[in-house]
């Protein structure tokens, strides 16, 4: 177990190093000047730019810069944002929990939804219910998230007015609502963006779950369960469902990249103060340090996702456990 973790961590470290190297090279070799402050109001002359470049060490050869970057990274320093004039750790540190909240809720929701839809389909396979849900989940999966987000925003936010259209909290709300009130506030704001991400992802999971369940339902142990006199629901959930769990968990773990992708688009649609948005803006501002660190965090999240998936699979499938 420990050995396994060590190996996975080493792999993750390698991944992160690769991500950092690639991103660093990408942003530094790209044409164009980092924004060194937002140019909306700035018309800096070349002397100013040179001063700023010197300040961030951008005047040195790229290899030297990279060496310095790695040295700083080893000390846990991610540098300072060119645009926001703040330590990158703070900039991303504030945004990351929001993205994690959104992503985790979306992941959980898409998992539950996908498994539920897939189960209904498998139970009713070949019927019109299956057909309709099939088309539905395929359509969800094939819908661009930005598009879906806009539609949800329009319908539930604006037309029906059930949910707030943007942000993570209501900043105008009274301060004395207490923790529960604040949590509810966040929840209300979370619903639409999470639903957007979840629906798209749930489409993929439902398709997968259906396949895994149909396979499982054809397995002999399902026949055994039916021969025992179990009800169809018990057979589906307890027997087929349990054994289809592992592959679906893997898929869920592997959908972290998709969620990250989605978050870039969905966070700007819903004004969610998350990492996707920060990264997106940083890329356009050529805020090198933020971009590199954000890519690194994304890499860590992706690696973490697949690690968690593996661990979850080990929980779900006793054949994969150490005492096997």
């Amino acid at each position: 177990m420990l050995g396994f973790l060590a190996r996975r961590l080493a792999l993750a470290a390698l991944t992160v190093l690769a991500v950092v190297t690639i991103t660093f090279a990408l942003v530094h070799l790209a044409p164009g000047e980092p924004m060194l402050g937002n140019a909306e109001r700035m018309r800096a002359d070349s002397a100013t730019i040179a001063r700023q470049r010197a300040r961030f060490g951008l005047d040195r050869p790229i290899a030297t810069q990279f060496a310095f970057y790695l040295a700083n990274l080893a000390r846990g320093e991610l540098g300072e944002s060119f645009v926001r004039h703040r330590p990158v750790a703070l900039v991303l540190g504030e945004a990351l929990p929001n993205t994690l909240l959104l992503g985790a809720v979306a992941l959980a929701a898409s998992f539950l939804l996908g498994v539920a839809i897939g189960s209904v389909q498998a139970a009713r396979r070949g019927t019109w219910v299956d057909g309709v849900l099939s088309i539905g989940s395929l359509a969800c999966y094939s819908t661009p998230s930005f598009w879906l987000g806009l539609v949800l925003l329009l319908v539930f936010g604006q037309q029906l007015g059930w949910l707030p259209v943007a942000g993570m909290t209501d900043p105008a709300a009274p301060e004395h609502v207490g923790p529960l009130g604040r949590a509810l506030d966040v929840l209300r704001h979370l619903l639409l963006p999470a639903a957007t991400l979840a629906l798209v992802n749930a489409g993929a999971i439902a398709r997968f779950e259906r396949g895994a369940l149909v396979d499982a339902l054809g397995a002999e142990f399902v026949r055994t369960a039916r021969a025992k006199g179990l009800s169809p629901a018990a057979v589906l959930v307890k027997h087929a469902g349990r054994s289809a769990l592992a592959p679906v968990l893997t898929l869920a773990g592997l959908s972290v990249p998709a969620l990250l992708t989605g978050s870039v688009l969905v966070e700007s649609v819903f004004g969610w103060p998350g990492m996707g948005r920060v990264t997106y803006e940083a890329i356009f501002a050529r805020d090198y340090n933020v971009v590199t660190a954000a890519a690194m965090i994304a890499g860590i999240l992706v690696a973490l996702g697949s690690l968690l998936a593996d661990l979850a699979v080990a929980r779900a499938d006793p054949r994969q456990r150490p005492d096997a």
Partner: protein
């Protein structure tokens, strides 16, 4: 500050939620580089004096006192300010002459690297006369001395900032928890989410009538407008797209407040050849430039992109500027004459592909458009089709914003779709179009001694009346030489919830008068009753 003497309910109260597209960077006026940063910090840090709504930058009469109670010209190059003794920092310390001197030093310091530093070139020094009197010493005598002394500087607390190394000002904690002397106090800032200010009941010119100002950061325009419609937000500086304006208009709780735009956009030609050498093969020639300008139907572009919410500018001035008088105008849209001119200059369609060429060289150029601007992209696509009808092949190259800026600064382009937010003072024309500006802000390399002398004379003119005809001639000169096609200025409309009263909008700084805005007691929403000063 922050006394408990809250004004009687009924007069004070209200929360204004403003939706903005981007987050702030630092809430410190000399170093902030974002629109939001400026908009918020301006509420915390007042100037010595404010322009009135007329935005008359030439005469001293166009100003009202703020931190400075009075001012007088000691001589042609010295301006004396007497500070209001009631003025207090929000930590209770009085605002003194030392603060003003300190402020000037900060703005001028190359380590601070304030984007406003170039605007202070006319001021040689600022000195403390006594604790409440400061003197501004100018290099030259000119009419806009008061403008330069007040407009760019927002007074900073020396006692709180003195210990911070100048180079670290932008990243200092103060910039995220500012303490000022203005009508509003800083309350909270959640990155990428919201910034909250509260009315300062100790403000020496009287507590604002609103309790709180909240900026909500929402990058997506459609979402932002939806927030206005659903009431999640109350106000937005300008709705940039016509369709969104029309959507907002349908919301009964909203009203749109029109105001002149400080904004100007157009196609800038590069008159210089590749790498700044020689003349540009197409745009080096004045007649060709004029022909291209006449081939672009600006009115159609404006109606297509903005409908009634935009206008064709008269020239290099934005509608907000007082020099933008009706009557002046650009070259007319006349594709027939344009075609004839091109024909005369040797640009003919010899191979019958519908595009002109001369000596085998096609009449082709590339227009840079930043990816961030939808209206500019739309206008460019429309212009492209129009130019094609007279045989001009304009290629559109969208480039990412910083790259756009850099290629603009380097003169590395044929043409680019610029857009500028102009200051109230017309003096900025000098940097953009004069020979002196070549190498910095005059990216197209237009240079004309006649134009230069006209502008210098206009700047030196002692009054608006005297300056006005000179400015007009300068603008006409520019239009005749066609170094650019001035395509559009939007007609700005601020969106505003109807419950707000006494709303006036100063085009250069739309929240300048927000301390006077209010909500009638009967119209208040729950969030208006939360109270600001805690």
């Amino acid at each position: 500050a922050g006394g408990s003497d809250s004004p009687s309910a009924g007069t004070a109260g209200g929360t204004l939620v403003i939706v903005v597209p981007g987050d702030g960077d630092v809430l410190l006026p000399p170093v902030t580089t974002t629109a939001t940063g400026a908009l918020v910090s301006d509420r915390i840090f007042p100037r010595l004096a404010e322009l009135t709504l007329a935005l008359n930058t030439v005469d001293d009469a166009g100003y009202t006192p703020v931190l400075a109670r009075r001012w007088e010209h000691l001589d042609a190059t010295t301006l004396l300010f007497r500070l209001d003794p009631r003025a207090r920092w929000q930590d209770g310390r009085p605002v003194t002459a030392d603060d003003v001197v300190f402020t000037f030093e900060v703005y001028r310091d190359t380590l601070v690297n304030s984007p406003l530093r170039p605007n202070l070139e006319g001021i040689a020094a600022v000195t403390r006369e006594d604790s409440l009197t400061v003197a501004f010493h100018f290099r030259r005598a000119y009419p806009e001395q008061l403008y330069d002394a007040t407009y760019h500087l927002r007074v900073l607390p020396k006692h709180l900032l003195d210990s911070i190394p100048r180079g670290r000002l932008a990243s200092s904690p103060f910039g995220r928890h500012p303490v000022g002397s203005g009508p509003f106090r800083f309350v909270r800032w959640r990155p990428n989410s919201d910034i909250v200010l509260a009315a300062d009941s100790g403000y020496f010119l009287g507590r604002p009538r609103l309790d709180r100002l909240i900026w909500r950061i929402t990058p997506d325009i459609a979402t932002a407008v939806s927030m206005l419609i659903t009431g999640e937000a109350d106000a937005m500086e300008v709705i940039p797209q016509r369709e969104e304006i029309e959507r907002a208009l349908r919301a009964p709780a909203l009203r749109l407040v029109p105001y002149p735009s400080p904004f100007l956009a157009g196609i800038l030609f590069n008159l210089r050849g590749p790498r700044g050498a020689g003349a540009h093969p197409v745009f080096g020639d004045r007649d060709t430039r004029r022909a291209v300008a006449m081939a672009v139907d600006r009115a159609t572009i404006v109606s297509s992109v903005f409908g009634q919410y935009g206008e064709v500018p008269i020239g290099a001035a934005s509608p907000m500027q007082w020099i933008a008088e009706r009557g002046a105008g650009q070259l007319p849209y006349d594709p027939v004459r344009a075609a004839r001119t091109l024909e005369e200059r040797g640009w003919r369609d010899a191979d019958g592909d519908g595009l002109r060429e001369r000596g085998g060289v096609p009449l082709r150029f590339t227009l840079l458009v930043p990816t961030t601007s939808r209206p500019r992209q739309r206008a460019a696509v429309l212009a492209q089709a129009q130019l094609r009808t007279v045989g001009v092949d304009m290629r559109i190259q969208p480039v990412e914003f910083t790259l756009f800026e850099r290629r603009s600064a380097d003169g590395d382009f044929d043409a680019l779709f610029f857009s500028r937010t102009l200051d109230p003072s017309p003096a900025s024309l000098l940097q953009f179009w004069s020979s002196a500006g070549i190498g910095s802000n005059n990216a197209g390399g237009y240079g004309s001694p006649g134009f230069d002398s006209l502008v210098l004379a206009a700047i030196a003119a002692p009054s608006r009346a005297a300056a006005s005809p000179l400015w007009r001639r300068a603008l006409e000169r520019l239009n005749d030489d066609a170094p650019a096609i001035f395509v559009y200025s939007p007609r700005n409309h601020a969106a505003m919830h109807r419950r707000f009263e006494h709303v006036t909008i100063r085009p250069d700084n739309w929240l300048a008068t927000v301390a006077e805005w209010s909500v009638a007691a009967g119209l208040r929403l729950p969030r208006d009753r939360v109270g600001g000063d805690r």
